[in-house]
Symmetry: C2
Subunit: 227 residues, 2 copies
DNA sequence: AAATATTTGTCCGTATGTATC
DNA sequence: TGATACATACGGACAAATATT
């Protein structure tokens, strides 16, 4: 199954710039190479390069000044929104912590709606996903399952804004393999608790399951990163 | 007080494209004019125009295909994230509703932290802002005050992700002048209730004030839009 | 303080590839 | 099969802003 629509050049250059910023651990205020240099190293025309650079600039990640160069912006909440939505988050313990905190508040805050709106069919689907989770080999697969699982949970809540935000915080977590610290058994068990509580129409149990789902990996991840 | 740094052309074109999409109420699947047409109507070179278009394309708002044209993407949660932080939200009752719902869950979810972390000095600042709110003439001023007010509230929570999200949902609200439906007196009163509850160290009162702050304008706005 | 080099900003022209009729 | 419409990509040129000497 290959990609039938090959990426456009400016799209590729955009990704390469992104990787450059992340891999070189650029800090706010740091300069990127000049346009001329980058056209050489990337082997593209100046036009295409600029289409990618201007994207970052308009979004608020970079600033370019004639006679000076291209600079990574300072880190404010506007910068952060851009980074979050663009999956451009730096390796920052605090951000992972904060992102998880937000996700937890949202998931707990919407728990009642999830609990009330989910159907029996959907609960069955949850169990099917859990069965598949047992046979997983790669991390990538796990994330796909996990995403499916949560998508079903929030489907009937019908809040696109919530979906968008959860997805964004998700990406932050993914970047740090938050759940990897859990063993395969624990991961499956966590999701089983959630699904079972919903099946039993046990709201308190659902809240507990949510709490368990978060708190555990959260605590351990922070400890691990602080080492 | 004039703008000392005149906007770059591609930045202006980007804004004009944004306005075009909003003002013409483009729906997913709708086509924009061709590059050539737009260079004429906007009076800019093809390069500059493309730098703006490619921003929208890379972010996931537009798709351009040779031989076809430039098309507004379909509306999914990825599209929404981009729209949210680009302030490119359509005039959609559901979105305003959903955005407010998320903001309320977040503000209530973080209420305990706000309550515990705010200092006496900050509470005094809140009252100063409320005093200024009384003398307001324009909506723009009100939004600035309101933003200041909430920034102080959440300052000590020190969660940049939360700040970024609240700011994004804020923009959605702003686009629809959510609070305009409240009279000047009610707006001031709402903020007074919040500040007073904090001053009195009355947590339940704070929750009530939050609830009042949201529920009222929320209800009325929805009614108004449904007409 | 002035001249020069550096770097981005903006424009133009041209050739190519792709979809539509 | 062509003809047309459209975006993709390249290269060159000069202007404007800033830094350097």
């Amino acid at each position: 199954m290959k990609n039938l629509a090959p990426k456009k050049l400016y799209r590729k250059v955009y990704d390469e710039l992104k990787d450059y910023i992340i891999d070189n651990h650029l800090k706010p205020g740091d300069k990127l190479p000049t346009e001329m240099e980058m056209t050489k190293t990337l082997g593209v025309s100046r036009n295409v390069l600029r289409e990618a650079i201007k994207t970052f600039e308009i979004i608020g990640v970079l600033t370019s000044k004639p006679g000076v160069g291209i600079i990574l912006n300072k880190f404010d909440s506007n910068f952060l929104s851009s980074c979050m939505f663009l999956n451009l988050i730096e390796d920052d313990v605090n951000l992972v912590e904060q992102s998880l905190e937000v996700r937890k508040v949202l998931e707990v805050g919407f728990a009642r709606k999830v609990f009330n709106s989910i159907t029996d069919d959907q609960i069955n689907s949850l169990f099917e996903i859990i069965d598949d989770m047992d046979k997983i080999v790669s991390e990538k697969e796990y994330y796909e399952m996990d995403e499916k699982f949560h998508t079903i949970l929030y489907k009937n809540v019908s809040n696109l804004v919530l979906a968008a935000i959860i997805e964004s915080t998700w990406e932050v977590d993914k970047g740090y393999n938050i759940d990897i610290i859990d063993s395969q058994e624990i991961r499956v068990k966590k999701h089983q608790m959630i699904a079972q509580a919903l099946k039993d129409h046990d709201y308190i149990g659902y809240l507990d399951a949510l709490d368990y789902h978060f708190y555990y990996s959260y605590k351990k991840k922070i400890e691990q990163l602080n080492k």
